[in-house]
């Protein structure tokens, strides 16, 4: 037995490179489409070209007779499958029955109508062209406000008013606040529909094992465990015979936080034909049939005193739900409502959500999910108020933040903000940006007739979802930490990281706790056959909830390790440190590997102990966490063309304690890129007949690397009291903070023309028209 103890430096807090990157950047990672199986068949899906139509007839015989075609199925065949689940429940929610294939009607362009199964994907695609569908087109409506007008086409004939739900909230006394206000600003604000555009589209491989009577479903998803429960129910099989495997996932951004028709359809087909079957979504299908995000038209009113003190808020949120509810469709705008007051002190809130059916693909969670819309609105409103009162936008914000000593801070929407120092990131961002100097520069630029703008956004967000009471599934997360007989460590997490880098940050946590090398920790996830039940990766929860479960499992494990160490050291006073048990009396130590070997050999057991070194924890947080931050964008608008140049972008984010700054930077960069996409370029456009006219990447502009400015990123660190790691979450922060900073900046740039508000995306033509008309919309 060695007597020296190696005190290793903590690795938590270090910017270690991602363990997952080598396989990703060398092309050796396995995605769903990389999976090949003997006897595999391929499915292709026929989708509706109409936004609304009756299906009069489907003729599949030519397709079925096509050489190489195994089967053709229509909605008649799959009546017993489904329905596609919606987990969100709101009082009075109207939930149309959502079959996996259309039966008598189609409700949006891209609605699945029939499926061909064939020997290869080429034949399957050829056979699709041989299916004849006779449609009787019906009037369609794609615009949520038009859908609310009397006489609008009914998306679902049984609900002619197109209202999916309404939801109201009163906090404090908004009526009184508005009555007492010196000033009220009002604005209609659109958060346009966006297409999540994960680099990897969806994909499913379903493999029925007739002998074992088990089904393995490979799917590119963020929620393998929930998918297992839900798909098992859809296809009517016992949950314990279904195994969901999530291989590498090339991005989700919320679009894969869902259970889609195709997952159950493929499962059903595989059982039906007794062969493995694969379906890989094309980009066109991805645009038409995978959920979209945002889709808000919001009417806000903000009441304040002359000195800038905000008194209250009225908000009407119109949520374009699309034709159906996907897993969380109606729940997303409730997050907007919760975040409606932003990070300001006022508590008088009167808010209403109207969910509207349209002949479009459903909306659901997309990076930020409800919070970007809320932040965009409140941050625009605060700027409108500042403009009205001729106050500096920074000053008005600083005036309205709750102080650091006011936490936990109860909001007018029923949240309890965990911890915060909201002025800190704003002041830091202003210092980095050189705010005073920028304003000086702006004055000079204006004298030269240039449109230079400075935009601030200060945001908060609800993260680390969340207590079980706040989620339709459980709000907890699970972890198993296992020291193998060799002393190497395996971590099984119920979360499902897909690009965020938790294989690295989780390993960092475990490496520090157990005193092992980062490379000695393997993190596994996403296979319901080998990982205990879990919830998944979304809502910036993976580290804060899943990481905490791991943390606690490590504590349990250390208790066990010390029992074994005490036995081996024949001591009753040991500590665990630097990867070894040390006798506090003699200084003798026994390393973890030896302890593990003894625990599995199990010739002798400590009193009351069991063989092996494993600990499993399921942990539920008591509250959400509330990260926050401040972004400043400096923009210049070309007066001749309307083009926006981002001259500076400063992001100061507080995501609580930082486990790995490199991962945090990556999340902020990616998040800001997507926020910029919304602010400047992206919009899912349906024409008045419900045709999705931004049907592919040649017309839907996601920002490319060359379009993203240098991001001056910095942090403040306010630990969260909600979890022992003190972490808050950072996956969505960049997106939430970005769009209002950019829009505020451009509005500021054009404010000499009297411009007060511009809806996204800020396309050059829109700005040029504003400028040409001297600021009049």
């Amino acid at each position: 037995m060695a007597t020296t103890v190696t005190k290793t430096e903590p690795i938590v807090g270090k910017g270690v490179r991602r363990k997952e990157d080598p396989r990703l950047i060398t092309g050796t990672a396995t995605y769903v489409d990389d999976i090949e199986m003997p006897g595999m068949r391929y499915a292709a899906i026929l989708r509706s070209p109409h936004a609304a139509a009756k299906i009069l007839r489907i003729e599949t015989s030519a397709a079925a007779a096509h050489p190489g075609v195994v089967a053709v199925f229509t909605g008649d065949d799959t009546r017993d499958v489904g329905p596609v689940p919606c987990a969100a429940s709101l009082p009075g929610l109207r939930a149309p029955e959502h079959k996996v294939l259309a039966t008598d009607r189609v409700y949006y362009v891209g609605h699945p109508v029939a499926v061909v199964v064939a020997a290869d994907r080429y034949v399957a695609q050829d056979a699709l062209d041989l299916i004849e569908v006779e449609y009787e087109p019906q009037p369609a409506v794609a615009d949520p406000e038009k859908a609310l007008e009397p006489g609008a086409p009914a998306v679902h004939p049984e609900w002619p008013d197109n209202r999916a739900f309404t939801y109201q909230h009163e906090g404090g006394d908004a009526a009184k606040a508005f009555a007492e206000a010196d000033v009220v600003v009002k604005q209609r604000i659109v958060s346009q529909r966006l297409i999540p555009t994960a680099m990897e589209t969806r994909g499913v491989v379903a493999a029925w094992d007739a002998g074992m009577r088990t089904l393995t479903l490979h799917s590119s998803t963020q929620i393998p465990h929930l998918m297992r429960s839900l798909v098992a129910a859809m296809v009517g099989m016992p949950e314990n015979r279904l195994r969901v495997v999530t291989p590498e996932v090339g991005g989700g951004f919320g679009s894969k936080l869902n259970v889609y028709a195709e997952e159950a359809l493929l499962a059903w087909i595989s059982m039906r034909i007794g062969k493995p079957v694969k379906w890989i979504e094309s980009r066109r299908e991805n645009y038409q049939a995978t959920i979209h995000g945002r889709g808000h038209v919001d009417y806000y009113e903000l009441a304040a005193r002359k000195d800038g003190t905000i008194l209250g808020l009225k908000a009407k949120i119109i949520q374009d739900c699309g034709a159906y509810h996907q897993l969380l469709t109606p729940a997303i705008p409730t997050l907007s409502l919760l975040m409606a007051p932003g990070i300001y002190r006022f508590r008088n809130v009167s808010a209403e959500i109207i969910g509207v059916f349209t002949n479009c693909v459903p909306t659901d969670a997309y990076r930020g999910a409800g919070r970007p819309e809320a932040t965009h609105c409140i941050e625009r409103m605060v700027d409108l108020l500042a403009a009205e009162l001729k106050m500096d936008p920074a000053e008005i914000r600083l005036k309205n933040f709750p102080g650091p000593d006011e936490f936990p801070f109860e909001t007018g929407t029923g949240l309890s903000y965990d911890s915060g120092d909201y002025a800190a990131p704003l002041k830091k961002a202003m210092e980095i940006a050189g705010y005073e100097g920028l304003r000086e520069e702006q004055r000079r630029a204006r004298n030269e007739g240039r449109f230079l703008g400075i935009g601030i956004s200060t945001y908060g967000e609800i993260c680390a979802l969340g207590p079980s009471s706040a989620l339709p599934a459980g709000g907890w997360e699970s972890a198993t930490v296992r020291v193998e007989p060799s002393g190497k460590v395996t971590v099984a997490t119920g979360t499902s990281p897909h690009g965020q880098g938790e294989e690295t940050s989780f390993a960092q946590i475990v490496a520090d706790e157990l005193g092992v090398d980062l490379d000695d920790v393997e993190v596994i996830h996403g296979d319901t056959g080998i990982v205990q039940y879990g919830i998944g990766t979304f809502g910036s929860r993976t580290l804060a909830v899943g990481g905490t479960a791991i943390h606690y499992a490590c504590q349990d494990l250390k208790t066990k390790i010390k029992q074994w160490g005490a036995m081996l050291l024949e001591s009753d006073d040991v500590r665990f440190e630097g990867g070894a048990c040390v006798c506090n009396k003699t200084g003798k130590s026994v390393p973890l590997a030896e302890i593990a070997a003894a625990a599995y050999r199990a010739l002798k057991l400590p009193p009351g102990a069991e063989p092996g070194l494993v600990a499993t924890r399921f942990w539920e947080p008591s509250n959400f966490t509330f990260p926050f931050g401040a972004h400043i964008a400096v923009t210049e608008v070309d007066p001749e063309t309307g083009q926006v140049e981002i001259k500076r972008y400063v992001a100061v984010d507080d995501c609580g304690r930082i486990i790995n700054p490199l991962l945090v930077a990556g999340q902020i960069h990616g998040g800001v890129a997507q926020g910029l996409g919304q602010a400047l370029y992206e919009e899912a456009v349906y024409d008045e007949n419900g045709q999705l006219v931004t049907g592919e990447l040649m017309d839907y502009a996601v920002p490319k690397a060359t379009m993203v400015p240098h991001i001056e990123s910095s942090h403040t660190e306010t630990p969260s009291p909600v979890n022992p790691l003190g972490v808050k979450g950072v996956g969505e922060a960049g997106t939430i903070g970005c769009s209002p900073a950019v829009v505020n900046s451009v509005v500021d740039a054009l404010s000499p023309l009297g411009v007060k508000h511009i809806d996204m995306p800020l396309t050059p033509e829109k700005l040029w028209r504003l400028i040409a008309k001297g600021g009049q919309a």
Binding site: Q125, L680, Y681, M698, A701, W768
Partner: protein, 285 residues
């Protein structure tokens, strides 16, 4: 996103290629940056692809008789980086550098771009300003025609079925010539919403030999002759440039799409004409 069944041939000579292209079901494949996406969407379904990329003679850039002869299969990035093009016809190299993204530039070819005649392609602006000629080969025929005669309408050229573009001929420019290409990119694809190329000479404080090529505005690229006339012989004052640029969209049926209305395109054409002329003027000596 899967094309229909097709045959594939990769001949090594032009003659073989022309022989194969005599089949009306056959289609030439160059960089594939326009054709392959159409095939994947099944908007095009040729029975056979005749891949031109193995034809050695079509990949060269030569200087000859005061002209640059650029093989039809030369890629955008080869044009962008060719020392010969950069020094003798910088406008073309500059224009090539504005096309799409790196991957598109590495695969797409000048011949393919001209043959496809996308109304928003970048090259036409420069090629019209350079009064480029295009060499076309058919089975047993060969002709050289000015670009203006080749271009017919959006996505339509005067190429007969089975004919191939083999070479693009642009003049060697004197070092004193000033040129510039100015464009607004469509953010999704990189295609030009409007692009304007200008070339001009300056002597004794006067502008001469002005050529202005425009793309993105109308069904095809074109030479803005009225602008050229108004500018020729002026001193190139700001007012003179603006006055000339003001007529650039006259008589053109401007395109409109999701990304830009016809009005906006007409306006941009003026703005970028001014900018291209100014920049060209600044570079001329």
């Amino acid at each position: 996103m899967i094309p229909q069944n097709f045959d594939y041939a990769a001949p090594s000579t032009i003659e073989e290629a022309l022989e194969l292209l005599a089949d009306p079901e056959a289609k030439a494949l160059a960089g594939g940056m326009s054709l392959i996406p159409l095939m994947k969407l099944r908007l095009a379904a040729p029975g056979r692809l005749v891949d031109l990329r193995r034809i050695a003679g079509l990949r060269e850039i030569r200087q000859d008789d005061g002209a640059l002869r650029i093989g039809a299969l030369v890629t955008h990035s080869e044009i962008e980086s060719s020392p010969l093009v950069r020094s003798r016809c910088p406008l073309l190299a500059e224009t090539a550098s504005h096309i799409g993204d790196l991957q598109v530039r590495n695969a797409g070819t000048i011949g393919g771009s001209i043959a496809h005649n996308d109304p928003a392609a970048d090259y036409p602006a420069a090629l019209f300003a350079l009064e480029a000629k295009v060499k076309v080969a058919g089975k047993g025929t060969e002709r050289t025609l000015p670009l203006e005669e080749l271009v017919v309408d959006a996505m339509v050229t005067a190429l007969e079925p089975g004919e191939l573009i083999t070479e693009v001929i642009v003049p060697v420019e004197a070092a004193s010539t000033g040129t510039s290409y100015q464009k607004m990119r469509q953010p999704a694809s990189g295609f030009a919403i409007v692009g304007v190329a200008a070339r001009l000479e300056k002597s004794n404080g006067r502008i001469g030999s002005v050529r202005v090529g425009v793309t993105g505005l109308g069904p095809s690229g074109f030479r803005a002759r009225r602008v050229e006339e108004l500018l020729d012989g002026t001193a190139g004052s700001d007012g003179e440039i603006r006055e000339a640029a003001a007529v650039v969209a006259e008589g053109v049926e401007a395109n409109a799409d999701l990304h830009a209305s016809a009005d906006y395109r007409r306006h941009l054409a003026q703005v970028f004409t001014v900018r291209a002329i100014r920049a060209a003027l600044a570079r001329a000596s």
